[in-house]
């Protein structure tokens, strides 16, 4: 147990929630921070559409996740731990988790439904657990130095803690979980080497489409859109792959879907996300959308939003226009998105 930090360093494990921060580094930051009380939080908010891997892990490897938490708590001298679950997962897994947890000081927290997508953002989660409004905190201080109730706090994703358990027991094989969905037959969650390309994942699962398609990687809302020539790369973020059949989707409907999601999930804290997504939605509902204004708002979102979620609003739209529409849709792609 003493050499867990060394093992984490050797594994080069990065956060599997999508942030990709080096896990060993995060752990040492919490370790080095002074605090009578320290917390370990397992983030099982999984609010990004199209990502189901945490759910899969909780269903099949809950023991490993709790084991990962215990290792972290031992390492940090932290107490208590908190499993932060979205309400669906809470309903589904709370009893089993409590059984596994037993007398260990780990609490199971039910994230209120209205906390929604932004309730998964690390500092929003802290606010939510404290009973405050679900919205991101100003950083610094960062959670490792001042997190839950101002105490040093380690927030790790479900899959990260699962991997920690494997690493500690020398069973880690540099694999990760991929959520596959969309216009494919064999959708679901798969565990494969993290070095696999998107193409390999789709082919190995017999999901490689025989029609014209594009994919969205790393979440169905904030993930990047890639065309079929761009799939010889590893997945990013939360490692979801959604396949879209070109013929099935009208560009405006698709863009609307992404934007409406962000407009309804914005916490309301900062201007670009609260007002910007509202106006993007409004523009899309005009008969003749003002694409120039649309692009200006997107730029402002990525450049000035308070938190990462706001900054990620333009990801899908921009990459879709660049990689898929690629001049085929005149009114949209004539302007620089």
């Amino acid at each position: 147990m003493i050499n867990i930090l060394e093992k984490l360093k050797d594994s080069a494990l990065t956060g599997r929630g999508g942030g990709c921060f080096n896990t060993a580094e995060k752990w040492s930051l919490v370790k080095l921070s002074e605090g009578v009380e320290k917390y370990v939080i397992c983030n099982a908010s999984e609010g990004e559409p199209g990502v189901k891997k945490d759910r899969y892990i909780l269903e099949h490897h809950a023991g490993r996740v709790i084991d990962g938490m215990k290792i972290a708590m031992d390492f940090l001298g932290a107490s208590p731990g908190i499993v932060y679950l979205n309400p669906d997962y809470y309903f589904k897994f709370k009893d089993r988790l409590k059984k596994i947890i037993g007398p260990t000081p780990i609490k199971v927290f039910n994230k209120p439904r209205q906390a929604g997508y932004c309730g998964g953002e690390e500092t929003s989660a802290l606010n939510t657990i404290e009973g405050k409004r679900t919205e991101p905190r100003f950083r610094p201080p960062y959670p490792p130095t001042s997190g839950l109730y101002g105490c040093p706090t380690l927030v790790n994703n479900v899959e990260t803690l699962y991997a920690v358990s494997l690493i500690a027991r020398n069973e880690y094989k540099k694999k990760r979980f991929y959520t596959l969905s969309g216009d494919i037959i064999k959708d679901g969650v798969y565990e494969f080497p993290e070095s696999w390309t998107i193409e390999t994942v789709l082919k190995e699962t017999n999901n490689w489409p025989n029609f014209e398609f594009f994919v969205q990687v790393g979440g169905d809302a904030s993930g990047e859109i890639l065309n079929h020539d761009q799939l010889k790369q590893e997945v990013t973020g939360s490692a979801s792959i959604r396949v879209y059949s070109v013929i099935k989707y009208d560009p405006i409907t698709l863009i609307k879907g992404w934007i409406d999601f962000f407009a309804s999930e914005s916490c309301g804290k900062c201007t670009p996300c609260r007002e910007g997504t509202y106006r993007l939605h409004e523009i899309l509902n005009n008969k003749e959308p003002d694409w120039e204004m649309f692009a200006r708002i997107l730029d402002t979102l990525s450049d000035t939003s308070f938190c990462g979620l706001g900054c990620s609003v333009p990801n899908a739209v921009r990459s879709y226009v660049r990689n898929v529409l690629n001049n085929s849709h005149e009114s949209i792609s004539n302007i620089r998105l």
Partner: protein, 579 residues
Amino acid sequence: MIKKQIQITINGKTVKCPEGTTVLKAAKKVGIEIPALCQHDDFCVKANCRVCVVEIKGSSKLQTSCSTIARDGMEIITDSERVKKARNMNLELIFAEHIEKCADCIWRFECPLLHYAEKYKILITTFKDRKGQRQTYKFGNAVEIDGSQCIDCRNCIAACSDLQKINYLEIKDKGSNQEIVPTKKKDHHCILCGQCAVHCPVSAAQEQSNWEVIEPALKAKKEHKNGKKILVAQIAPSIRVSIGENFGLPYGKIVTGHIVAALKELGFDYVFDVNFGADMTTMVEAAELIERIEKKGTMPMMTSCCPGWVNYVEAYHPELIPHLTTSRSPHIHSGGAIKTYWADLMKINPRDITVVSIMPCTAKKYEAARAEMKIKGNFPVDYVLTTREFSFMIKKNGIDFAKLKPAKADDPLGGYSGAAAIYGASGGVMESALRTAHALGCGDDTAGLCKERLEFKSVRGLAGVKESTLQVAGTELRVAVVNGIGNIDPVINNLSAYDYIEVMACPGGCIGGGGQPIPTNEEIRKKRIAALYAHDKDLKIRQAHKNLDVLKVLSWLHKKGHKMEHGVLHTKYKKNTKL
């Protein structure tokens, strides 16, 4: 400790500043204005309006200058195309949250939205207004929050919760549906302090205005159409050191003469000084303090001239009512004197007199309209205007305030002592009362113990709670001054430790009141306070009991019998959770 100086460049210009300075402040120091709406020195960084964004070399994203601490060698650009584009976009988005009601808006001459729109040449109408259907929440007759003007900066929330710890305002819903609303929790009550209003950059949180009632009366006066009606204005102790700010004058500049001249120019027949009323209050309060001590009345005695504090007691701690001095507050005292003593002197029917108080305060609107204030059926004060409303009237009428020839307040209710002058600062009321209590308690004995005492410096300053033990007329008095209602708890929880307590609901006292010019922050409060104490030192008489005109009024009231005397000088309180 002197902070280390660091060097940064802003737009290619070398700027030196102390370590720990934000980029926004460093830029301001060298005359580079970065727009900012949610930033306020009274609050922790919120960084939610996103209009103060700048480019910082080495950062991929734009950074908010309000939250970015300057580091040695930092290179900052505030005017690149990228910055302009993003900043203007956020401004345009904010403009569309705020329904323009400029014609009647008392903040239109200072409005930062109009200022930025003009400065950056951006339309205020890029998008359709989206908050047209939003409600206006009214608090008593004093404060309101107009949801159709709110830009979601949340300063009101920070003022109500973090500063005042009243927690009356809440954020309902999320995203574009979010709205500032009064809480539904039954145990939280608005005390009408108006700190939400004085921290609101766009007048969404604001006073319930009365200028639109006063203006027609003044107009009628000018056109000789209002018969026998006499219009009297009286000015609060603290506004003379603050209103100048709205006219480009330096912080803490005393402009009593200009104010009087402006009121006369607007058409008021007489202008009196609430400082006169403050001297009355001191006399009444000091006498009560001595009486309570001698007759072993309810102790500690607490001040009651701050109506926000009175509202707080009545709503949250009615059990403290017996502790409140029964003395009315300064403008109610002078208003009462105007409608009795002065009316008699001038042979005017009190019903023909309209008294308008110019106050730093929103809660004074509520206080003035309390039924128990009436004297023979007349309210001592008919209307209350905030400093902001008054300055709006001056601007609206095209009066060049700074160039006015200073005028003197009218006699005999215009003269005042230094003790009255400091009423506007936290600790001022107590110090004034102590100066007079000391003299009253000593009687004619001015030797030994009873040497004249003027200054009680331990009750001054901006600490949240100021405690000290003072020798007053040979008695040891344990006093506490609460500066801002957010600091009240430790004192309420330890009442037996004190004999006399002053509470001002607003930080700094009236100079930081909810009706004062915007911005009001710690640095500005300090300057306003310093001006008041300097004024006190400059005055010939510095104790209320030496104001001979006040003594004349008090003795006149005494001769009129107990009912009249008591009616003008004292009041009562009751439990009240519904303003």
